[in-house]
């Protein structure tokens, strides 16, 4: 409720709100987890006192969660729908356990007489498939299962967890054709969950820039030498970092024997990683894997 003189038409429904958050999941690569929380011992409360108790519980839940999380109460039941942003199911479970423990030990203020007991179902959302209604239906039915098993239970729903396969472009800029091939194969054989690579090879920076291959919105990993025929690698690096939307570029530089100063300068100019030849190919592979995994938070 807004207390100022402004008010808005068409307040957002829970469904719209959730769908907006969910659209972000794939776009910004952040997971959210929804928790369906149900009061196990609702029957211990007086029927008249229940609404008030539920309100107290709602407030309590709002305080227990972060500012970036949201608590909604189902209209006719002693059940809540909690959206935890930037959270995976493990952290959600940890949160629930903390909640259970805290209520068990300290109880909820203003509810000294009856310590509420809860159970929950947890669904990690990694994609934007399935409708809101399907999610609610799933969540509620698994919650029922969870409540059936007893208090302080947690049940998991994995249907919505799977991250969509994201396409990533990879460019290799290397003059030596044999080594170029080696890099190509190595990356091709990399096992990256949730990511699909499309790799192109280039002999030098000029060819790369002329090709326009970098002009898509895909995340783009570029593995290149600092010294290239026709146009220096540093030049290409600068040009890439000056483009709008250059955050999509992840740039690994290879070099032959350089001073620390060169390394520092390369990082300052926007390289994300630096490999001095001869280097261990496994190191490169591991760094690539790590970089991709860290893309999701």
């Amino acid at each position: 409720m807004l207390s100022s003189e402004y008010s808005f038409e068409h307040a957002v429904t829970t469904k719209q709100f959730f769908n907006a958050l969910r659209a972000h999941v794939v776009r910004s690569r952040t997971t959210i987890t929804v928790v369906f929380l149900g009061l196990y011992n609702a029957n211990e409360f007086d029927i008249d006192a229940l609404p008030e108790a539920e309100e107290i519980i709602s407030d309590y839940l709002v305080n227990a969660t972060r500012k970036s999380d949201f608590v909604f109460k189902f209209s006719d039941q002693s059940q809540w729908f909690i959206i935890l942003t930037q959270t995976g199911e493990r952290e959600a479970a940890a949160f629930l356990r903390r909640l259970y423990m805290s209520i068990k030990n300290k109880g909820i203020p203003s509810l000294e007489n009856h310590k509420p007991l809860f159970s929950a179902s947890v669904a990690e959302i990694g994609n934007d498939e399935g409708t809101f209604e399907e999610l609610i239906a799933d969540g509620m039915s698994v919650l029922a299962e969870s409540l059936g098993k007893g208090p302080e239970q947690i049940e998991y729903i994995s249907t919505y967890k799977k991250r969509p396969l994201e396409k990533i472009r990879v460019s290799i800029l290397e003059e030596n054709s044999i080594f170029r091939n080696v890099l190509y194969r190595a990356i091709e054989n990399l096992d990256l969950d949730h990511f699909e690579t499309e790799i192109k090879e280039f002999r030098d920076g000029y060819e790369f820039l002329e090709s326009g291959w970098y002009l898509s919105s895909h995340t783009h990993l570029i593995i290149m030498n600092d010294v290239l025929p026709r146009q220096s690698g540093l030049d290409v690096l600068h040009k890439l970092r000056m483009m709008p939307n250059n955050q999509k570029f992840i740039i690994f530089m290879m070099t032959k024997g350089s001073t620390e100063e060169d390394m520092i300068y390369a990082f300052e100019s926007g390289a994300d990683n630096y490999f001095v030849k001869p280097f261990n190919l496994r190191l490169l592979e591991v760094e690539i894997k790590r970089t991709f995994e860290r893309l999701w938070s």
Partner: protein, 481 residues
Amino acid sequence: MSAIADILAKIFGGFMLLYMGLVVLTYTGMLFFSFLEMRKQHKLDKSALDEDYSDSFYSKPLSIIIPAYNEEVGVVDSIQSVLNLKYPQTELIVVNDGSTDQTQEIVIEQFRMKKIPKVVKEQIKSKPIIQVYQSEIHRNLYLIEKENGGKADALNAGINFAKYPYFCSIDGDSLLDEKSLLRVMKPIIMSNEEVIAAGGNVRIANGLDVQLGAVHHKKNLPNRPLVLMQIIEYTRAFMMGRLALAKFNLVLIISGAFSVFAKEWVIAVGGYSTQTIGEDMELVVKLHRYLRENNVDKRIEFVPDPVCWTEAPESFGVLRRQRRRWHQGLIESLVRHKVMTFNPKYGKIGMVSFPYFWLVECFGPLIELAGHIYVIIAFFLGRVYFEFAILLALLFILYGSVLSAFSILMETWSVNVYGGTKNFFKLIIMSLTESFWYRPLTLIWRCEAFIHVLLGRRSWGHMKKVGLSKNPRPDGSELSK
């Protein structure tokens, strides 16, 4: 009366024959020595060995100075080609010698240069420096803006600013190969500082495909006879002259288009002379002289591999001025240091190099021209002279066309920069025509230099730059073709 003329004519004829015979023998000897050297290197896998010097730990850091005067057409490509070089630790100093065109503005814009407050210590006298700039994109790229003082003066200013122990000078309209620096520094690196200067091979880029500062050779050579002849001439000069001379440390000319010097020695001899036209040769002579006078045992070397591509004149007028200027510079340097001639104090340089340059390179054109005139006159004069004439003419052909053809052969066999059968034949056939038109022309032009020296003329010669790049620049604008 005619008897005296007869005797004089015979003597002159005899002298000519002797001279030409000697010259031909000398050049054949040089060709032979060059051949030996090339043969030794022939099968050597250089690309594998090159890898080793790329590490900055071994290589000596290098300042690259590009003096620029009204080079708005080619300066960006030159700079770009230097930035692409495979050499660790360099700084690139472009010296704008008071250009009146857009040279400075183009460089500042293309490379995002910002002013920096920099005090330059004047170790060699030069015209005042107005402002120093540094590039934001390439931290090792600098631009010096100074008052006009000529190429030598610009180089000296660059040397004053340079912070590394070695420097290299490249003409504003020249392009380097990727590995050029590595290869030209090789004698210096390997030698434990005995080698204090090294020169590289210069080739002509006209008509070849140039993209972003890198030359793509292995294409069809242009058909213009003047350009082809210059290609042949350069090949001959390097294949025969420089290579053989360097073997015995007699090198007097390192081309200004591409050469490396140890800074301390250059400063010791007072840098480049602004008073002569041929400042490159003058510097080398001064160095040799200084080394001898101070009894220091150092060398100046020449490497046949590294390639610097330069724009050669495409019109007779410009070529004429260029050749006249070069010859004038040669004469001036030799005269200035004439005390070294036949002076045992200066060792091989004094006893062999100088006499050679005096007799063959400097006065050669005069003698040869006289010989040509003699041939033409003697041709009409009668039996004995007729035979003299034929003999002399044959010697001229030998000296010119045949030796040039052999130079081309050797070049194709060893380095083979201009690959392909078609190119090979173009060059061979053109080289055979050398004695009949090109050589006499250059003779006349070089003789003109004597007149200029006597009259004290000092024109610098302006070449209208055509620009080597065929491609639009990366930012979309096109350079003139």
